[in-house]
Amino acid sequence: MMDLMDLLLIFLIFVGSVGFVVQPLFGRSVSIPAESDELELLKLKKRIIYRQIKELEMDYEIGNLNQDDYLLTRNELKREVAKVIKKIKSYSRKK
């Protein structure tokens, strides 16, 4: 048998959850916040390449890589990161 306490709890859960869910519908129309994923993506790419350079230096220092491979890969990564930084700057200027 359902007692008064149970009924009260069920009522509170139902009214509370429905009220909480539908509340935004009664507000003013909201515009979708600006998409910042593009800039975030560029920054992430920059972080990943920097980390790769750091790991490459470590691999070289501990002797996992010879000098030719190290220099070749390092220059490639540096060129790549330079492009990303350029894009970040132009994105920030546009903003």
Partner: protein, 654 residues
Amino acid sequence: MPVVGSVALNLGLGFSILTILILVFYLHTKDYRLYLTGQRSALGVSVLAIIATLVLINELLRGNFDVDYVAHYTSLETPLLFKFSALWAGQSGSLLFWLSILSVYSLIVIFLYRNRHRKLMPWILIVLTSVQLFFYTLINFITNPFEPTSADFVVANGNGLNPLLQNVTMALHPPTLYLGFVGFSIPFAFAIAALITKETNPLWIRSIRRWSLVTWLFLSIGIILGGWWAYQELGWGGYWAWDPVENASFMPWLTATAFIHSIMIQEKKNMLRVWNMVLIILTFGLSVFGTFLTRSGVLSSVHSFAESPLGPMFIYFVILILVVSTALIIRRLPLLKSRKRLESFTSRESGFLFNNVVFIVICFAVFWGTIFPIISEAVRGTKITVGPPFFNQVTVPIGLFLLFLTGVGPLLAWRRTSKQGFIKNFTIPTIAALIGLIVFLYLGFTGYVLVAQTLIVFVIVAILLEFYRGINARRRRFGENPAQALLRMIRKNRSRYGGYIVHLGIVFMFVGFVGGAFNQEKEFSLKPGESEQLGEYNFQLKNLREEERLNHYAWIADLRATDTHNKFITILHPEKRVYFFRSPDPDRRQAHSELDIYKGIIKDIYSVFTGIEVDKNTAYFKIMINPLVWWVWLGGYVLVFGALISLWPARRMI
């Protein structure tokens, strides 16, 4: 109070349908208020599941035997901890527990990414809510934990929890396993959302990498705890029996391990994007399949599976996951294809790719061995079980190759390893392995044991060499002392060295697995004062005691172990227990052997009190000498430690 739980489940079901509809509507109208409503509705779905779980916990702790589930899995005598753990002891409770963990994860996702992944989030919420809807449907319509008892009398006491489950490890094992199983829903939801929205950039990969590692860690801990429980509680002397329930957790672990390796390549090189999608989907599919295996009754008989709609619903759900995901991958194939190719066969990328293939091959073998009895019973009417010999025959050689790759991986450079680099990196581990091989041959080892031991030496030396070189490099560059260099090196490269420590843990586990080849076992009976010999040990029954405890009656043996020189080693206290001993119905009384283990680095002495003849004052024992088992648990600790290092957040330098 149970009615509150039931209503919460009904409401949760309604809200989950509502959430999906609102979010789909939002995707058509782009009215952001609808997204906020959908997000709140998703919050509601999760909160309601948690409320229902809390209500069931309350009923279990109170011992409300009017609820059928409570009466089935607890009794007045059940200790408080096990009343709580009864939440996941039965089918309906464990499904509610699955749902509540997913709900906690969903709440974290909603909170963490409330301002990020704007394109992905509506779809992530739709996928997560769809999974919740599936579990809500099962719990509401097929197996409701709040179902009142069908007895037409007042139920004064419950059945109580199975004595085998009344163990602290068993109280921890299912939650950790479920945290792992359920956690893979999040990478899955991200993957599906990325496929639908065509957002296949590395941003979402970044977000799920940590999730994957955390859930992988939980799953690993769950599997290790399961082994620990089996070893301590079941009394057959082992920790892994290739039981379908064990395999159910091992399969997603294999694909998840492959994934956390290959995701690194996607992050660094933007390669293996299709493969990673396949791995995420497989891992989640196998997690749901694992829940189906353990919860549908299909393992005991195909017929019991058909008796309840639960099993078919799980199967339909797994098929739905696979069909929808595969269709999405095929549709997005042009977008997912990587323009980059592997530059060299001798690169770390290739090493990762090899390890991925090996993981998948092992997973397929385990999958086939697990479902074969089910298929044979369904097709031919007779259950043909493939036991440990099949699994060992297939997985041991592949596992050894995987062990070899564990050692080779760190020695290979990204992109390509030059000939000089190859010779330089491989020389010392290879020489060490060859010396090991000669020593092991001299000691008389043969076959897989010999190969495994040689590879163990190779991998340990390869990993330690990486640490040594790293420390030396820092000492040269910064003039640090070795301890400083070690700590700073790990701190600055947590992911890399944490990973190596995890590998070291796996190698230690292999040391333990090798020990299994030298187990000794003997069964005998003793009267007080008598003794028996096994290997280099002597066991004397000093005393046989009796004790009445809260929920069982116990006979306790005091078994004195000495070595061949009569040097005292330990006194073991295995017990023979009878649970529900007060029950007037003899069929309800349940005998249980509580074993005692003397643990050592070199070997364990494992004692089981198998039976007693009270009138003859005779006790029956099974004693096992299990070498190197300690290393399996040490490997587990090291694995967890390494994974925690990898997970520890680094201060962002850039």
